[in-house]
């Protein structure tokens, strides 16, 4: 299904729209408040962006350094070219321990590789332990938001689900009581778990340290209590040094949950005698990331630290919700990351899932220019579909001129040299039916500042 088709269905669902709308509005307000507290927010963003650029431009160097550090700390490193290989590695590792159940903390990378299905096919039961993830797993549902995956479910629905799936007779729909039910359900499993599987937010190339940021403590449970810990990490998640956490510990929590700091940040450096797992395995996953890396404009999507700010600020996401994107990474980042990871032929409609309003770019703590990548990908989609680019641009133009707001946006993009028809801020020729006009004259250059912008500033 294309984004347009599923978005259409999602738009009919008023309950979903209500839940998502409430959630994103609440997070936006809180986030603006905690971000305003830091006078050096822009400087932090710039450092966060630059550090990621440094890593990506030298990813081979940093990965080898990281591998050596993890091994030096007593960990084992495995490499996986694609999802199937990553799952195979994890299944083998779990098999070697002889257990048939694992506890799992939330991990987008393993959602991307569909690890749970692979484990189940091999007779291993994955227990999701994040509350939202548990709600999704019990409901055989799909996450709708990176940060609050079950945001589309209200308390009454969760109560019914728990009563049915956990066999609890007497349960109110009070969130505290629902959380308590989940705690009781999982406690024993944590205490006796022999294998834990986790994702990670960052890997430190210099020291081999892995970081996991969370709120509930289930991540700490999964990474601390079992004998064996398997961490699955995308190869782009590296940062150069421990010191760099001075940047990301400020950027990520405030952008993500709109808190000054999330309740728990765990850092482990291989195995440590007398504290935590005795065996540590790290699985480094490519699964399309090197394709993204190869695109000089699209590459910046790998800066993403999965904070979800861009979706909370996106007017399209607010109305459609995450399911419409049919992608592990929804919202604006999903619109640029998924088509690059999976190929334009599979997810080519996603770059159109945006109004190009630029709110995502302003929100992004690592300054990913999402609108720029969107426009770039749209051009690629058009090329790959063998459509006459001018024909497609014409369709887009019709769209643009149909609303004043979009027209202004197009002007802004043209000024930035990003509009597909603009060269150096000048629209040199109009396509199709309008081409007769520009054949003999250049269209008026787009002024540096539009009249409206100028007027607003007066």
């Amino acid at each position: 299904m294309t984004f347009q088709e599923s978005a259409h269905i999602a738009l009919q669902d008023t309950q979903l729209r209500h839940n998502i709308g409430n959630a994103t509005r609440a997070i936006r307000a809180k986030r603006n408040h905690v971000v305003a507290e830091l006078p050096d927010w822009q400087e932090l963003r710039e450092a966060g962006r630059a550090l990621k650029e440094r890593v990506l431009r030298h990813l081979d160097h940093y990965l080898v350094q990281f591998e050596q550090a993890v091994q030096g700390n007593g960990g084992h490193v495995h490499w996986a070219r694609d999802a199937a290989e990553a799952n195979r590695v994890v299944v083998e590792l779990v098999r070697a321990t002889g257990v048939d159940e694992v506890v799992k903390s939330k991990s987008l990378t393993t959602e991307e590789t569909r690890l749970n299905e692979a484990l189940e096919e091999n007779g291993i039961r994955p227990r999701e332990t994040d509350l939202a993830q548990l709600i999704i797993q019990l409901g055989r549902d799909k996450p709708s938001h990176v940060l609050v995956p079950a945001i589309h479910k209200n308390r009454a629905e969760i109560r019914e689900l728990f009563k049915r799936e956990l066999g609890i007779e007497d349960l109110s729909d009070d969130p505290a009581e629902l959380a308590e039910a989940a705690r009781r359900h999982l406690r024993d499993r944590f205490l006796h778990a022999r294998v834990g599987i986790s994702g990670g937010n960052f890997g430190v190339a210099e020291t081999g340290t892995i970081a996991l940021f969370e709120s509930e403590g289930n991540g700490r449970m999964c990474t601390t209590l079992p004998d064996t810990l398997i961490t699955v990490l995308g190869i782009e998640k590296l940062i150069p040094t421990w010191q760099d956490f001075e940047v990301y510990l400020q950027l990520l929590p405030r952008s993500s949950t709109a808190e000054r700091m999330n309740p728990y940040n765990s850092f482990w450096t291989g195995v440590h005698e007398g504290d935590g797992p005795r065996e540590f395995h790290l699985v480094l996953v490519d699964n399309g990331r090197t394709n993204v890396l190869a695109d000089e404009i699209g590459r910046q999507a790998l800066n993403c630290i999965r904070c979800s700010a861009c979706m909370n600020f996106c007017p399209v996401y607010e109305r459609t919700g995450g399911h419409a994107y049919n992608s592990v990474y929804p919202g604006p980042i999903g619109a640029i990351l998924t088509p690059q990871l999976e190929g334009l032929d599979r997810a080519g409609s996603l770059p159109y899932a945006s109004s190009l309003c630029g709110a995502c770019y302003d929100a992004c703590p690592v300054k990913i220019d999402i609108p720029q990548v969107l426009v770039h990908l749209r051009r690629e989609v058009v090329k790959s579909e063998g459509l006459d680019p001018e024909h497609a641009a014409m369709r887009a133009m019709a769209n643009v001129f149909s609303s004043r707001r979009r027209y202004e946006l197009a002007q802004r993009l043209a000024r930035a040299g990003q509009w597909p028809l603009a060269r150096h801020g000048v629209i040199q020729h109009l396509p199709g039916a309008l081409s007769g006009w520009t054949a003999t004259r250049d269209m008026l250059p787009v002024p540096k500042q539009s009249f409206r912008d100028w007027w607003r500033q007066r």
């Binding site: 959380a179 430190v204 289930n218 449970m221 000054r260 440590h272």
Partner: protein
Amino acid sequence: MSQAREEILGRIRTALRDVPDHEAPGDVRVERAYRRGSNESAEALVARFVERVADYRAEVERVPGASLGEAVARACERHGARRLVVPENVPAAARPEGLDLIPDDGLTHAELDAVDGVITGCAVAIADTGTIALDGAGDQGRRALTLVPDLHVCIVPGSRIVASVPEATARLSDAVTAQRPITLISGPSATSDIELRRVEGVHGPRRLVVLVVE
């Protein structure tokens, strides 16, 4: 070395064809123009730290060194905690009479689950964010101690409070080099997964009591 490894590294090198051979990682400029320190008074730091810890719905109290034991006892009583595990180097002043204090001589997870709480020190605390950092040193113990029991009483000497995140990460870097695990704690365990309503105590400790000793 594995074939997958060689192939991925090869793909990366091909993907990065636009990066000139002579460019070193350090050549990619990183501007660190953000704040790294501050010259606030100790009093200002303590006040901000206390205010921000309270924002997380943790219980926080300033106590003179001489009455630390009483404050610990009061906190435990408030929460009905009688049996508490205590890492080796927690000072005597923080071990009041009348409580059942258990040393960690390799308690099993089930045994830890059966105690009511834990009393620890802390490595460093951050005023800007109301965060305490544990680095596995002798007064903090292994990670499971502050994870499984329901109540965490954390003693923060005023001198360990720094203003900002950069100062805290700098202080923790020796622990990282020594391969010790680090945990930053900002309030009790919490979730907002159900209709964004905040609920405390999902899997980690439900109660966090922070005692700032002056």
